[in-house]
Symmetry: C2
Subunit: 413 residues, 2 copies
C-alpha cells in the first residue's frame, strides 16, 4: 500500500467535466491511499477569505486580462463563438484528478473509501486558519421562479464561517444580492452563469448580522465524485449519472464507501464540489460550498470476482456507511445513453422527482433481490415497511431520489 | 385535567372517512387526555391472529349474510347501485372518533400530543398476547404496474409478528398472493378493492419461511390522524390534506406533537390506520398495518393567542418532535377546495412528487419566515444547507413530501 498526495494546481484539476481523455493527474494501484485536495468553484464569491494567500487556489482561479489559469470550464466546445466567456461549456465544478487505477477495466467496480475529510483553512493574513464557505441561492435553484419578496428574481450569495472548535457548525457572516459582474475578458455576467467569475466587492452591498440565531450543523462531504463515463470525451459535471458524479448526498463524507461501475480503462476517478453542509434537496442550488481535503482508499473489484458479493450486477453508484446502504435514483439512469447527441443540454428539460423515485425503486429492488436473495414479493414488502426514500437534489438537471436501507434489518450483517 | 378512554366498537368508529356530521364518540376539554384504541382495517387478512376473540375487533369487522357491523365504508353515496358492495365509498381506514373539543372553532389550532403507543395483543386462544400486522403490496402501490416476476400484476399480503421483548422489531410469518374473495353479500373482490373483506384462508396458499434474515425495526405510529375538513360532510380517509389525515409519516409516534388547523366547530379529531413500521414512501401501498392503542393529550390554541408562537399563520399540519419540526407538502395543499365537486375521485389522477416538493418548500419557507423571523433570502439559504426533504408517501392519491429542520439549528430553542 502506498500513500499518495494530490494537491490542487492547474495541472491536477479539470474544471466542469469528467473526462476519459484527460491525462491522469495520478496513477495508483488497488489498495493505495491518497490525500486529495479539492477546491470549491464558489471561492471567488469572497476572494479575501477563500483564495488570497493560498497558492493552489490562487493558481487555479487566476484570471487577468493577460492570463486565465484554466481556460476550459465545462464540457462544451473549446472554440467560439462564446456567449458567457472563452472555454465556456456545461459544467461548473473544479474536479481534482483524474486518478487512474491500474488494471481497471469496464465491468469492474471501484470502491472509494472516504477515510477522512478536513476543511481547507484560509491562508490570507486577515483570516488565517479560519474556514469559510459560500452558499448561492442561484438561478438554477428550485425556488428561483417562486420568490415572494422583491426584487424578483434575484440571486443571493451567503458567506458562512465554519466553527470546528467543538461539534462543527457553520454560521452566516454576511450575504449579498448578485449584481452584474464584468469578468477580466470584458464579458458581463448578469447572473451566476459562468464558474469562477471574480466578484468585485466594490459593487456588492454586504448585509451583515444575518441568520443571527442559526447554526447549521456541519456535514463535510464531496458533492461530486465519480468516474469518467464512456459515452463522451467531455461530460458536464452537473448531472449525476451511472458512474456517479454530482450526486450531492451529504452522507458521502467521512466513513462512507462509494462503489462505482468502471466505464473506461483506468476508471478515471475525479473528486470536487466540496461541501461543509447541505440539506436533502439542495433546494437553492448549492450547499455551503467550501474547499476540503480528503483521505481516500481505492479498492478495485474485478468483474470476475463480483459474484456473491454486494457488488454483483451493479451498474450504478452505491453507498455504504456504517449504518445503511443507499441507492441513487435519477430522472434518467444514464442520460448520455438515453438522450442522444444533445444529452448534456437536453437533460435539464425533463427533470422529475417522480421518475427519479421510479429509478430508485427499481435499483433498491435489484439490490434486495440480487444481494439479499429476496423474491420480488419479499423485496417489495420490505421496501414498503423498511426502506426510506428521500429527495437528494432538485437542482442538478438530472434530479435525484435516494433509497436507504439500514444494515441492522439483516441479521447476517 | 380528565383522562378519558375510548375503546373501539361499532359506535365509536367510523370507517373510511373524516366527517363533521358524525355524532362525536367523545367530547373533552382542552388539557384533557384520552386513551384511544384503534384497529387496522387489514385485520381480516388473518382473522385468527388479528380479530378472533377480540370483542372490539369482532364487533367492528362483523360481516355475515345477515348482518354487517358497519355498513358504510368510505365517503361515497350510501344508496346504490354499488360495484364493490353496499356502503362502498372512497376511503378505507377504520377511524376512532370523532373526538370533539369543547370551544374549538375554525381558525384555532389543535395540538395533539402522542404520549404513548402500544400494540394491541391478539386475544385468540392460539396467539394470545402476541402482536401481528399485515402488509399489502396492493394495486394502489407504486410498484404495481412495474413488476418483473410473474404473474403480473399481483397483490401480495405479508403477515408480520411484532417482537417487543427487547428493541421492538417485526418479523415476517408468511405471505400469500391475493386471490378473488367472495364477501358475505356475494360480491367477488378480484383485487383489494373494499376494506374489511373476509379473506377465506382455504383459498389462499401460504408461503412460509420468507424474509428469513429480515428484522424490520418497529416504528409504532398512526398513519391517519387529523380533523374533519369543512368542505364536505364525508371526506375520504385516503388523501391527506390541510387538516391532516392520512399523512403516513412514521415520525408521528410516541413523543410527537401534531398541530392541526381547526376547520369546523368542535374540531372533530379522529385517529386510525395504526402502523407497526413504515418506510418513507410507503412504496407498496401499506405499512405493517397493526392495531394500536395510544395515549393522547389535547391542547386547544385559540386563534387570538397564536401571534408570536410557532403556530402563527398555520394553515396546514405541522409536526414537532424532540429533535425536529416538519411540514408536509402535498400534490394539492387542499384538494377539496382546488378540485371542485369531484375532488375526492379527481385527486388521484394528478399525483406528483414535484408538486408536493413545491408545496413543502413553500410551507417550510413560511415557517422559517414567520416563526423564526428570517428574511426570504435567509430562509432559502437555510433550506438549502440545513433542511431535509423526504418522500413521505407515493400511495395516498395526494402524494407527499416532508421538509424537516432540526431544532438545534436555532440557538434559542
Amino acid at each position: 500500500m502506498k500513500h499518495h498526495t494530490l494537491p490542487v494546481s492547474p495541472s491536477t484539476v479539470h474544471w466542469g467535466y469528467f473526462s476519459k481523455a484527460v491525462q491522469p493527474a495520478l496513477t495508483l494501484k488497488s489498495g493505495d491511499r491518497a490525500t486529495i485536495e479539492t477546491l470549491t468553484h464558489h471561492a471567488y464569491d469572497d476572494y479575501d477569505r477563500m483564495i488570497a494567500g493560498d497558492p493552489g487556489a490562487e493558481a487555479v482561479f487566476k484570471w487577468t486580462r493577460e492570463e486565465k489559469g484554466i481556460v476550459r470550464r465545462g464540457s462544451g466546445p473549446t472554440t467560439g463563438p462564446f456567449e458567457r466567456g472563452s472555454g465556456e461549456g456545461i459544467g461548473v465544478h473544479i474536479m481534482t484528478g483524474p486518478v487512474a487505477i491500474e488494471n481497471a477495466e469496464p465491468g469492474d467496480i471501484l470502491e472509494v473509501r472516504v477515510l477522512d475529510v478536513r476543511p481547507r483553512p484560509s491562508c490570507s493574513a486577515c483570516y488565517a486558519g479560519r474556514c469559510f464557505g459560500s452558499n448561492a441561492a442561484a438561478n438554477w435553484g428550485f425556488h428561483y421562479h417562486d420568490l415572494i419578496e422583491e426584487p424578483k428574481p434575484r440571486e443571493v450569495v451567503t458567506i458562512f464561517e465554519l466553527d470546528t472548535a467543538g461539534e462543527p457548525y457553520a454560521k452566516a457572516v454576511y450575504n449579498y444580492v448578485w449584481v452584474p459582474q464584468t469578468d477580466p475578458d470584458g464579458i458581463v455576467h448578469p447572473t451566476i452563469d459562468y464558474p469562477g467569475v471574480p466578484v468585485d466587492h466594490r459593487l456588492i452591498r454586504k448585509r451583515e448580522n444575518i441568520m443571527a440565531n442559526v447554526r447549521v450543523p456541519a456535514r463535510l462531504h464531496f458533492g461530486t465524485m465519480g468516474l469518467a463515463p464512456s459515452e463522451a470525451d467531455f461530460v458536464s459535471s452537473i448531472p449525476p449519472s451511472y458512474t456517479g458524479g454530482n450526486i450531492d448526498d451529504w452522507r458521502i463524507g467521512k466513513g462512507a464507501r462509494m462503489y462505482y461501475p468502471v466505464a473506461v480503462d483506468g476508471a478515471f476517478f475525479s473528486v470536487g464540489d466540496p461541501h461543509a453542509a447541505q440539506g436533502d434537496s439542495e433546494l437553492g442550488g448549492t450547499a455551503i460550498e467550501t474547499s476540503l481535503t480528503g483521505d481516500f482508499e481505492f479498492i478495485l473489484h474485478k468483474k470476475n470476482d463480483l459474484g456473491g458479493t454486494p457488488l454483483e450486477g451493479l451498474t450504478h453508484p452505491l453507498l455504504e456507511t456504517g449504518d445503511v446502504w443507499s441507492v441513487y435514483g435519477f430522472t434518467f439512469p444514464n442520460y448520455l445513453a438515453e438522450l442522444g447527441d444533445n444529452a448534456q443540454t437536453e437533460v435539464a428539460g425533463h427533470a422529475s422527482l417522480d421518475k427519479a423515485m421510479r429509478d430508485a425503486f427499481r435499483k433498491m429492488r435489484r439490490f434486495l433481490m440480487t444481494v439479499h436473495k429476496l423474491s420480488e414479493d419479499e423485496a417489495i414488502s420490505l421496501m414498503s415497511v423498511g426502506v426510506d426514500f428521500g429527495v437528494t437534489q432538485v437542482v442538478d438537471a438530472n434530479w435525484g431520489v435516494h433509497g436507504s436501507i439500514r444494515k441492522n434489518v439483516f441479521r447476517c450483517d
